[in-house]
């Protein structure tokens, strides 16, 4: 199945991100602000998103995954680097050209409680994109379009005049998704879309997103900290740590053959709801916390918590590349991994 996706789903990437950097300045002083440093939220990230695929991005809080989402949406200006949408660098666009691109890249937010305006009806919320892009739907047609959208996401179209507080969390997230779909975008950036939902409702929303992807041929950038959900929905997965991409590959490469120690630790730390396999798994419990992105360690960012770290890791920044050990081996381990000592670890996720 993975192969089918890889060959059939490829072609030209719809989004090409190259060396994306976002530093937030830290300033001191009230009148004469001096820059005393920078939070290196995203520090040189590259990846592609292909039409019709789902790229999952996982990482812990502070790794920069949400900043990547904002940069893709053009809600933040990158410090450097490019984001190409169908070959065109969107970081330099403004005005009408930017608006046209934005129509094709839409976002679904994490918290369905705060991302919907409580004073607007569902009809207004879902129809608001049409106010900004009137060419997407003629004025007289909007109400019908909104009802159609509600139907598509599994809400009763008669709810069009209700307010957000009259819905449960899962339903609100459906409203958020309907709004994201309104302009028929090609790419949807979903930042933790199911994290705030109850377990039994999470599955409903994940299934809905998968169905919509098939129906509308959407590309998803699915950002989450829950590794199980990311595996479920993604074709490819990127693992981020402290503003850098640690490892990227197909879901099978990442979950069955991780070569970066951070990915291995992350996977081993995920609790599995099955006491039997839980007993057989070997846990890697990492020491300490994620360092501050304002003052990241030299060389490899992960070295302060890594059990393999050596002098070389402090001196040299590891590049995100297929490890020479596995190059051309055809094994699942042959995918980009930013570690000097990348190797497979047997049965990190023992089934």
């Amino acid at each position: 199945m993975t192969e089918r996706r890889e060959q059939g789903g490829r072609g030209e990437p719809i989004l090409e991100v190259r060396d994306l950097v976002k530093h937030f300045p830290l300033t001191q002083g009230v009148f004469f602000k001096r820059q005393i440093g920078a939070v290196k939220a995203v520090d040189g990230i590259s990846f592609d998103l292909y039409p019709g695929e789902t790229l999952g991005i996982v990482g812990e809080s502070g790794c920069g995954k949400s900043t990547v989402a904002k940069l893709l949406m053009n809600l933040e200006q990158p410090t450097s680097g490019t984001i190409r949408y169908k070959g065109e660098d969107i970081t330099r666009l403004s005005g009408r050209a930017l608006k046209a691109v934005r129509r094709n890249i839409q976002m679904v937010f994490q918290d369905p409680y705060t991302s919907l305006n409580p004073r607007m009806t569902v009809g207004d919320i879902v129809g608001e994109p049409f106010d900004i892009h009137p060419e997407a739907a003629p004025k007289g047609d909007r109400r019908r379009r909104v009802q159609e959208l509600l139907d598509v996401v599994g809400l009763n179209p008669e709810y069009i005049n209700r307010y957000p507080h009259q819905f449960s969390g899962g339903q609100r997230q459906r409203i958020g998704i309907a709004r994201g779909l309104a302009l028929r975008p090609e790419v949807i950036v979903a930042d933790e879309p199911v994290s705030a939902l109850d377990v039994s409702v999470q599955a409903q929303v994940v299934n809905l997103m998968e169905r919509l992807q098939d129906e509308f041929g959407l590309s998803y950038m699915f950002i989450a900290h829950d590794l199980s959900i990311v595996r479920h929905i993604s074709d490819r997965v990127g693992v981020m740590y402290l503003g850098k991409m640690a490892e990227i590959g197909t879901d099978e490469q990442i979950y069955e053959h991780p070569t970066h120690p951070y990915t291995q630790a992350l996977l081993s730390a995920v609790p599995v709801p099955d006491p039997e396999s839980e007993g057989k798994r070997e846990r890697i419990v990492l020491e300490g916390d994620v360092p501050s992105p304002a003052n990241p360690p030299s060389g490899c960012r992960f070295r302060t918590r890594c059990w393999k770290a050596q002098q070389r890791c402090a001196d040299e920044v590891p590049l995100l590349a297929v490890p020479t050990l596995f190059e051309g081996s055809g094994s699942g381990a042959a995918h980009p991994s930013a570690c000097h000592f990348a190797e497979e670890r047997a049965a990190v996720v023992a089934a």
Partner: protein, 326 residues
């Protein structure tokens, strides 16, 4: 005699829209050295039950309408507030989900930890502070002596949760209630904190009630599980059995609806609908509108907690079918 025995507890909240039946006849027990996991989605009554046990329920609007909470042989609900306050903190303690909002932001963590000893044991400032440092070391906070004067915001999420644990442990209680202790933490930190909690529990031989919505977290630490739905316990079982042979359709639905790390599924199976409003719990079995097995009797008769086998109970009229099928 159990360390804690909750019997038929019922709690309701009076709201503007009516009376919300948050807890409807919940019974569970915890022994010394045992971990009970209480599992449920939001609104299932798992936290309210725990708050009633701790005696920190907001009353009003909350009201305990029935049942008893027997702790070390005494029914807490009949004790005067003065007595309960002595038990709280020294005999039973609670760890909350959000450490940042549970710690006082304008006091140093050392002061807050030392306060426990000064108030409950009448220790002097200096002694109390030394004990605070000791505690911080015990929950493995690096450089405890230097950090004792730091404020909560200077610690990371995982470290703050350790301070919460230290505070709960301070007076060596017999029972700890941890309400979603790792939900706000990152995966790698979550593993550290759970491990610490399990180690300390063994060391002190405490009873532990672990409240969570995450089936994964409890799998390797709990001894037994109680699954709650709409203010009732729908299934209780020793931990291994529950995952292998769920005897209630809700438990099975939950287990099936979580994506697995080690399996790439096609489509997640789904529990249709959503949890009921506590203002209007459906008659009969509260789960019947969402249940794939529901029949007429489920809409009329509330199922009791049937005994399935030793130590296993299920509140489903058709537990036998469930049990035989799995």
């Amino acid at each position: 005699m159990s360390l804690l025995d909750v019997r038929d507890l019922a709690v309701e909240f009076r709201t503007r829209d009516g009376v919300a039946q948050a807890v409807n006849g919940v019974s569970y027990s915890v022994e010394a050295g045992e971990t009970l996991a209480v599992l449920g989605e939001s609104g299932s009554g798992k936290s309210v039950t725990a708050q009633a046990v701790m005696g920190i329920l907001d009353m009003p609007p909350g009201r305990i309408t029935g049942g008893e909470i027997v702790f070390q042989g005494r029914d807490l609900l009949t004790l005067p507030e003065e007595e309960r306050r002595k038990i709280r903190g020294s005999k039973m303690a609670m760890i909350f989900q959000d450490a940042l909002s549970s710690l006082n932001p304008v006091l140093t963590v050392g002061y807050q930890l030392a306060e426990m000893f000064r108030v409950h044991q009448g220790l002097r400032r200096k002694e109390a502070r030394a004990r605070a440092v000791e505690l911080m070391e015990r929950v493995r906070i690096p450089a405890a002596r230097q950090r004792v004067g730091d404020f909560p915001h200077q610690f990371s999420g995982g470290m703050r949760q350790r301070i919460m644990i230290a505070m709960a442990l301070a007076l060596e209680p017999d029972l700890i209630i941890a309400d979603e202790p790792t939900t706000a933490l990152d995966v790698t930190v979550q593993a550290q904190v759970m491990e610490l909690l399990a180690d300390l529990q063994r060391e002190y031989n405490m009873g532990l009630i672990l409240i969570t919505h995450d089936l994964g977290v409890v799998a390797d630490v709990a001894d037994k599980i109680a699954v709650m739905y709409a203010g009732r316990i729908v299934e209780t079982a020793p931990v291994g059995n529950l995952y292998r042979t769920p005897a209630h359709p809700y438990t099975k639905g939950l287990l099936d609806s979580i994506p697995r790390l080690d399996q790439k599924g096609q489509q997640l199976s789904v529990i249709r609908g959503m949890p009921p409003s506590l203002l209007q719990i459906p008659p009969g079995c509260a789960y019947n509108p969402r249940c794939p097995m529901a029949r007429t009797v489920c809409r009329t008769d509330e199922p009791p907690l049937y005994e399935v086998v030793d130590e296993r109970r299920s509140a489903c009229h058709f537990w036998k079918e469930m049990f035989d099928a799995s």
